[in-house]
Structures are given as structure tokens and as C-alpha cells.
């Protein structure tokens, strides 16, 4: 037997050889415990690098807020606390299901762990859907990074683009952003059908799970857009109703009202949105990476790989997912809840 085979994926091919050695213990480890400890230390160290990766942005944030506090106060009013808050809850809930999944995997309950991981995946996608609504709304208003920033008071994109079917207005940016998820959803659904048709039950189940995950995105986007439209309508109604718009009790109102606020807008407000897009964008990339990792776990749960002495991967991805959650927990107040 050639030795190369043994270096390549010793997992799947050498089940018989390594029976006493445990199914998933790589050849260079002495015991399951050593492998688990190594993985655990590795993922913690990796999380440290992740924190430091974000640290640059946090330092930039602190620096600009220190130099231009008024920019941050003013600019954060453009961010929707409700959507941000919903997203926070969605991520917190996903952390709960993730932690639960780790416990289930630890008990060897692959079936239950898989379901919990699927819920976590749906939450992740829903988070991105809501985020897409937030992004697209800002892009509609030309609230962009500093060099493209061109927001004008009282500008209503709906007046130009018109709503779809007149009832639900959907930002054209949101449509653009949703293309890729739509493509994924189609592919996964088609894949699920194809696999089911050819009798590959496991793959069909996996593809179905991915399709369900992607539909989570559309649930999030739909909910977010509905709220957004309702909120816009409310603002407009208030605007029409009276001219006491900038009382200050409702932060969101003061943006769209009173032409006098134009002169007060600090010139460097765009830098805030540069930082906002960098931070939330990088976070979103991490969410997407998390979805990929969770999908892998889901697949392994379907294959019933985990048992009380082997559940490391769920634990490691879980830790990563908690970190992604935690970063959002910091981003939300720092960006949305100024004042």
C-alpha cells in the first residue's frame, strides 16, 4: 500500500485500519482527547486573530469618533434601530440554537443537532436579508462611503422608481442584492429535486436544507422591506400632518424634515458611512463564511458523524459563530445607538 493514500484523508478510507484508533482520529494524533484539545486551542487562537482583524476598524472608529463626535451623533440617525435590533435578536437566537446544537452533538444526537444547525443557518440568512434591506435603502438615498456620499434632504427614491405592483415598494438595489441568493435558492432547490429523483436521499436532504437556508434570506428581506415601507409611510404621514417634525423625541424623524437641518449637517458625515460599510460589510462576510461552515456541519450531522467522543467540529464552528455574534453585539450599539 502506498503511503500517500494514508496522508490523504485518512478519515474515510481507513476505517478498518484504524478501528481501535477511532474513526475520525487523524493518524498523527495519539488519542481523541489530544485531537480535540488541539482543535480547541487552534480555534481559540484563530478567534484571537479574528478579533485583531476587526481591531483595526474599531481603532479607526474610536479615532474618528474622538475627532468628530458630532458626525457620529448625526449620522447614526440614518441607521434604523428597529432593523438593527431585530438583527441583534436574530443573531442572539442563532447563538442559542448553535450552543444547543453543540450539546446535542455532544450527546450524539445527530438528528436533533442537524435541525438546530439548520435553524442557525436560517437565522444567519435572515440576518443577511435584513441587512440587505438596510443597505439598499441607504443606497437609494445615496448614503454611501464618503467619496460617493450624495444624500439630499427630502429626496424620495420611490417617486422615481415606483413600487412593484403599487403595493409593496421594493428597492431596485434590494432586487440586485437578492440576485445571488435567488440563484443559490434555485440551484439548491433544483439540486434537491434532482438528487431526490436519482434516489440520493442524503444529498437531497442536504440540498433541501441549503434551499431552506436560502429561503431564510428572503423571509428576512421581505420582513425588513415591509417594515421599511411601513416606516416610510409613517414618516410621510407625520410630515404631512404637522410641521413640528423635529421635536427631537423621535430621532429618525429629524432627517426627513425641516430644510434648516441641511446647514447643520457636518461635512465629514460620509466617513461615518465608510466605517459603517467596512465594519458591517466585513461582519457580513464573516456571516457568509459561517453559513458555509454551518452547511458543512449540517451535512456531517446528516451523515451522523458525531458522537460523545467526537463532536469537535460542531464545537469549533460554534465558537466561531458566537464570535460573529459577539462582534455584532459590539457593532450594534457602537453604530446604531449613539445618543
Amino acid at each position: 500500500m502506498s503511503t500517500v493514500e494514508e496522508t490523504a484523508d485518512s478519515h474515510d478510507e481507513h476505517d478498518d485500519d484504524h478501528h481501535d484508533h477511532g474513526e475520525f482520529i487523524a493518524h498523527h494524533f495519539d488519542s481523541a482527547e489530544q485531537q480535540f484539545d488541539s482543535g480547541k486551542l487552534g480555534i481559540w487562537v484563530f478567534l484571537v486573530t479574528e478579533v485583531l482583524f476587526f481591531s483595526g476598524l474599531f481603532v479607526a472608529y474610536v479615532l474618528y469618533r474622538y475627532h468628530h463626535p458630532e458626525v457620529f451623533v448625526d449620522a447614526s440617525q440614518f441607521l434604523d434601530k428597529v432593523l438593527g435590533g431585530i438583527n441583534t435578536i436574530v443573531l442572539l437566537f442563532s447563538s442559542l440554537t448553535m450552543a444547543w446544537a453543540v450539546r446535542a452533538a455532544q450527546l450524539g444526537n445527530n438528528n436533533f443537532a442537524g435541525k438546530l444547525i439548520l435553524i442557525t443557518m436560517i437565522c444567519a440568512a435572515a440576518f443577511l436579508g435584513i441587512k440587505a434591506v438596510e443597505y439598499s435603502h441607504k443606497w437609494d438615498l445615496y448614503i454611501l462611503p464618503v467619496s460617493y456620499y450624495n444624500y439630499m434632504e427630502g429626496y424620495h427614491p420611490e417617486a422615481e422608481s415606483g413600487g412593484i405592483a403599487g403595493t409593496l415598494h421594493i428597492s431596485k438595489w434590494l432586487v440586485t442584492l437578492s440576485m445571488l441568493p435567488l440563484l443559490c435558492l434555485t440551484l439548491f432547490s433544483a439540486g434537491a429535486v434532482a438528487m431526490a429523483a436519482t434516489g440520493k436521499r442524503l444529498m437531497a436532504q442536504f440540498m433541501l436544507g441549503l434551499a431552506i437556508m436560502m429561503s431564510g434570506y428572503f423571509v428576512g428581506a421581505f420582513a425588513g422591506q415591509t417594515y421599511q415601507n411601513w416606516h416610510e409611510a409613517n414618516l410621510e404621514a407625520e410630515e404631512h400632518a404637522g410641521d413640528h417634525g423635529h421635536d427631537g423625541d423621535h430621532a429618525g424623524d429629524s432627517i426627513a424634515t425641516g430644510p434648516d437641518s441641511t446647514s447643520e449637517r457636518p461635512p465629514q458625515i460620509g466617513v461615518f458611512f465608510s466605517i459603517y460599510y467596512c465594519m458591517t460589510g466585513l461582519h457580513a462576510i464573516h456571516v457568509i463564511a459561517g453559513m458555509a461552515a454551518l452547511s458543512w456541519l449540517y451535512f456531517r450531522c446528516l451523515k451522523a458523524h458525531f458522537r460523545p467522543d467526537y463532536f469537535g467540529p460542531v464545537d469549533y464552528v460554534g465558537l466561531y459563530w458566537h464570535l460573529v455574534d459577539l462582534i455584532w453585539i459590539y457593532l450594534f450599539p457602537l453604530l446604531y445607538l449613539i445618543n
Binding site: M1, T3, E6, V59, S147, S274
Partner: protein
């Protein structure tokens, strides 16, 4: 060498089962998870980067032979020194000792079969390939003329291929992070239970300290380069003063990585030297724990001194003062190491073979490089020396005189282990001599030039500097020939060298208990745990032409258990 039963017992029976021969074909290398093969591939890769960037250096030096334009325009000159710097730093020096030598030696020194995450290890190597490919793409498309530091705002406005180059550095950064992560976990979890922290060879300690820096500093470079790319693509205004950004913030971010990165470059070199000095003096290393802790101290202090690159960038006076003071404090652990090496040499049984020659020249060159750093850390003299050839000479003494010398020394030390063959020691020493002489001739005049005001990065210069520049150029070619000879001797040994036994130098660390070259699993016999610097435990065995453990010579030695049956 015939595999006598005794040799099999001591070094395993890997004659025909060594890691080089156990499988063949290009795929068995490209998809290998074996740390030894990955180390060898890294070695080939970084050597390629060294020669490429070395050629750039020679082109630069040739252009500078006279003060007028010879064959490079100013713009071409800017590109040439930038590529020299960027490729040397990111693609050569940073991965050189840890990823090439460290990969090969670290698991074996721990008596382990492999690093903790072999796939991640291979991934690191491919990231290195991709990152270097990006740097080369930058070179072949629009070039790069920002200097290796990518300072804003120039890097935002220049028309050269900054994005390719920064992507390259970004990817190389992740390669470095994963290597560091891998080594850190390996040292923590893959050691035998009986091997405590203070039984680790000092090379491991230095690699461990290096890993800490790689893990903590490199992500900051990652985000900085990402922001720079964003700044170039869509002007996010974080570094660009035209949009209210702060270019000095870029310098802070950049040096927060790049100063610790200097210690990524030098710490592994110090580890190599600790091994060489001890083995070739055949004497227990002096002040083991001091050397070990000084590595960690350098790693930690290295995070607190980045501001000394920015004394003239408009920091507050208080900050410059603090950074200057901490910079001086780094000299303490560095000097601790040098004193301990010297004390190890004292009354040792010194063998002036090639690796030892490199080690001794390291101490000399690193000494000069380190001491001239103090001139630059001193606020008043730095104002005068800032951005002159003095700085260039200083960091080349540390990077080339330090790291490259140690890399060559380490290669000569571990080469017989890696390929099972002995090099021509005489020619090795000639190479070392040429490197030493050529290096000093290249860079010593630069100290003089710099202190007289020759600015760095200038394509043209006044006639008064010509003599120094010419000496430097001649030296550079001698250095180039020396390095070429050093590698030629090594390559020659791979094919034509005399076959040697498992432990030709009488070293006591565990990697020498394997056969040369090691078997696929490193050790397919029981390892005899002994202290890494206990040379009295080693005796020379004429029959086998190698050093063996004294325990095995005495008749009452208990039989070692039969080697574990190995697959393959």
C-alpha cells in the same frame, strides 16, 4: 551505509522508507500533508523568492555604481527597490526560517509525527504560492513604486499595481498566521507528556515566540491592507486626507504589524543560532531559561515600539519619548541572548565547521545591526539619520546579516538530516567567508554614507558618495556569489554527497534520533527522551559512523521495545 540491526534499533529502519522515497510522482508532493515535504517545498519557494529579489538588489546596486543615470530611469529605480523590498520581506524573510526550516524540524524536535493541522499546513504553503503569484503579477503588470511600506496617500494615487501587491501581501499574511497558529498548537499539544516547557530545544521556544507575533500582529496588517484596497477602489476616506482621512493612521496600523514582523524575521534566526552554538561547541547551552524567556520578552516588547518608525511623522513629543524608551528596552533581551551565546562558546569544544562559521558571523553581524539600532532609537540622532542609508544598513545587518546568515547556518546544520548526505565542508566555509566579506563590504560603507547624509531610495547621488557606493556595489556582487556558492554546495550534496548516519554532529535534540533522511512517520522506533543540550549523553560510534546515545553502549541497557509496526 548498511542498516545494521543496531542502527535500526537506534534510528529506525527507514533506509528505503524515508519521506523522500516513500512515494513518488508530482502529486505525492503537491498534495502531501507531510510536514517534511511541505518544508522542502517551502524551502524551494523561498529560495526562488530570495534569488528573484536578490537579482533586483544587484540591478539596483549596479545602477548606483555611478551617480548618474546608467540604465534605470528614476521611475524604474523606484519600482526596482520596491519590488526588492516587498518580495524579500513578504515572500522570503518572513516565511524563510519558520515555514521552511521550522516546518521540517519543529515536529521532529517534539518527537511528533506531524504538526497539529497538516492540512492547514499545506494550505499555508498554497497561500504562500498565491500571495507570491500576486506580487509577481503586480511586478509584471504595472509594477509597484510605493516602497514595501505602501504609505498613503501616495499608494492611493500612484498608477502602479498597488492592489495586486497588497492582495499578495494580504494573502501572504494569512499564510503566516496559519503557520504560526499551527506551530503554537503543535508545541502545546503534540509534545510527549514527559517533555516539559523547559525541556524544549531553544529553537522551539523562538518559534513559539514567533508564532505569538504572527498570530497577534498579522491580522492587523490584513485589515490595514484591506482598508487600503477599499481606499483605492472607492475612496472610503479613512486614510485619504482628500476625504478627511488620516494618512498617519495608516502608518500606525502598518507598523503595528511591521515592527513585530521584524521580530518574526529575527527570532527564529536567534533560535537557530542557539542550536548551532551549543551543538558545535559540544557544550550545554549557557543560561537556557534566560534565552528562552528573552525570546518571549522580545516578542512582547516588540508590540510596544512601533512608533519608533514614525518619529518624524508628527507624533506628539510624549509618545515619541515613550516609544524611544521602550525601544531601548528591547536591547536588553537581545543582549541577554548574545551574552549567553558567548558564554556557551567559552571553554567549549568548538568545531569550526560551516554551520558554526555562519553562527559566529551571525553574532558579529547581529551585534552591529542591533547596536546601530540604538542610534536610531535615540530621538536626537534619529532626526539626523532618519531616511538615510544608515537605516538601510542597520536593517540589512539584522535581516541579511542576521536572518539570512542564520538560515544558511541552519540549512547547513539540518541538511544532512533532510537529505541524508554530507556537503563539502570546505566549499561551505568558502561560501560563508564570501557571504561575510561581501556583506560587510556592501553594508558597512552605507553606515558611513548615511551618517554623512546620503538619503535612502534616491536613484542619483552627489560625487562625494561615489566611493562608498562603488564599494557597496562590489560587495553586493561578492555577497551574491557567496550565496550562490552556498546553495550550490547544498544542492551538490543532495545528489553527490557522502551518505551519513542519523546523528553526524552529536546533537542531542530529538530530531537527530531519526534516520537521515527521516522515515515518513519521523520515528518508527521508540524515542529515547534526553535533554536537548546534554551532549555528554552522546558518544561517537565508529562502526556506524554516527553519534549514538551512551545508554545504548553500556551492556546493561534494557532492550527497547520492538518498533511499532508501521503501515506503508
Amino acid at each position: 551505509m548498511s542498516a545494521t540491526p543496531q542502527a535500526q534499533k537506534l534510528f529506525g529502519h527507514a533506509e528505503e522508507n524515508n519521506y523522500l522515497k516513500c512515494s513518488s510522482g508530482i502529486k505525492s508532493w503537491l498534495f502531501t500533508l507531510d510536514h517534511k515535504r511541505i518544508g522542502v517545498m517551502y524551502l524551494i519557494g523561498v529560495t526562488f523568492a530570495l534569488f528573484l529579489a536578490g537579482v533586483f538588489a544587484l540591478i539596483l546596486r549596479s545602477e548606483l555604481f555611478t551617480g548618474d543615470e546608467n540604465f534605470l530611469s528614476e521611475a524604474q529605480y523606484n519600482q526596482m527597490f520596491t519590488l526588492h523590498g516587498a518580495i524579500m520581506v513578504f515572500a522570503f524573510i518572513i516565511p524563510s526560517i519558520p515555514a521552511a526550516l521550522g516546518n521540517f524540524v519543529l515536529p521532529m524536535m517534539l518527537g511528533a509525527k506531524d504538526v497539529a493541522f497538516p492540512r492547514l499546513n499545506l494550505c499555508s504553503f498554497y497561500l504562500w504560492m498565491f500571495g507570491t503569484a500576486f506580487l509577481l503579477t503586480a511586478m509584471l503588470t504595472n509594477g509597484l513604486d510605493t516602497g514595501w511600506t505602501f504609505y498613503t496617500p501616495y499608494s492611493i494615487t500612484t498608477t502602479t499595481a498597488v492592489i495586486y501587491a497588497t492582495m499578495g501581501a494580504f494573502i501572504l499574511g494569512f499564510s503566516s498566521i496559519f503557520t504560526g497558529l499551527n506551530f503554537l498548537v503543535t508545541v502545546n499539544t503534540m509534545r510527549p507528556k514527559t517533555m516539559g516547557w523547559f525541556k524544549l530545544p531553544l529553537f522551539i521556544w523562538s518559534l513559539y515566540a514567533t508564532s505569538i507575533i504572527q498570530i497577534l500582529a498579522t491580522p492587523v496588517l490584513g485589515i490595514t491592507l484591506l482598508l487600503l484596497i477599499a481606499e483605492r477602489v472607492m475612496h472610503i476616506g479613512i486614510f485619504d486626507p482628500a476625504y478627511g482621512g488620516d494618512p498617519v493612521l495608516f502608518q500606525h496600523f502598518f507598523w503595528f504589524y511591521s515592527h513585530p514582523a521584524v521580530y518574526i524575521m529575527i527570532l527564529p534566526a536567534m533560535g537557530v543560532i542557539s542550536e548551532l552554538i551549543s551543538v558545535y561547541s559540544h557544550k550545554k547551552i549557557f543560561g537556557y531559561s534566560f534565552i528562552a524567556f528573552s525570546s518571549v520578552a522580545i516578542a512582547l516588547l516588540g508590540f510596544l515600539v512601533w512608533g519608533h518608525h514614525m518619529f518624524t511623522s508628527g507624533q506628539s513629543q510624549l509618545v515619541t519619548l515613550v516609544f524611544s524608551a521602550i525601544t531601548f528596552s528591547v536591547a536588553i533581551p537581545s543582549a541577554v541572548k548574545v551574552f549567553n551565546w558567548l558564554a556557551t562558546l567559552y571553554k567549549g569544544s568548538i568545531k569550526l565547521v560551516t554551520p558554526m562559521c555562519y553562527a559566529l558571523s551571525f553574532i558579529f553581524l547581529f551585534g552591529i545591526g542591533g547596536l546601530t539600532g540604538l542610534f536610531l532609537g535615540t530621538l536626537s540622532t534619529d532626526i539626523h539619520l532618519h531616511d538615510t542609508y544608515f537605516v538601510v544598513a542597520h536593517f540589512h545587518f539584522v535581516m541579511v546579516g542576521g536572518t539570512l546568515t542564520a538560515l544558511l547556518g541552519g540549512l547547513y546544520h539540518w541538511w544532512p538530516k533532510m537529505f541524508g548526505r554530507m556537503y563539502n565542508d570546505f566549499l561551505g566555509r568558502v561560501g560563508c567567508f564570501l557571504v561575510f566579506v561581501g556583506f560587510n563590504l556592501t553594508f558597512f560603507p552605507q553606515f558611513v554614507m548615511g551618517s554623512r547624509g546620503m538619503p535612502r531610495r534616491y536613484a542619483r547621488y552627489d560625487p562625494e558618495f561615489e566611493i562608498f557606493h562603488q564599494a557597496s556595489t562590489i560587495g553586493a556582487f561578492i555577497l551574491g556569489i557567496g550565496i550562490l556558492l552556498a546553495f550550490a554546495v547544498l544542492v551538490h550534496a543532495v545528489f553527490f554527497g557522502r551518505k551519513i548516519g542519523g546523528n553526524p554532529f552529536g546533537a542531542a535534540s530529538l530530531e537527530w534520533q531519526s534516520s537521515s533522511p527521516p522515515s515518513f512517520h519521523n520515528f518508527d522506533h521508540k524515542i529515547h527522551m534526553n535533554a536537548p543540550y546534554d551532549f555528554s549523553a552522546m558518544v561517537y560510534d565508529e562502526e556506524m559512523d554516527t553519534y549514538i546515545q551512551r545508554d545504548f553502549v553500556t551492556p546493561e541497557t534494557p532492550e527497547v521495545p520492538a518498533p511499532e509496526p508501521t503501515k506503508a
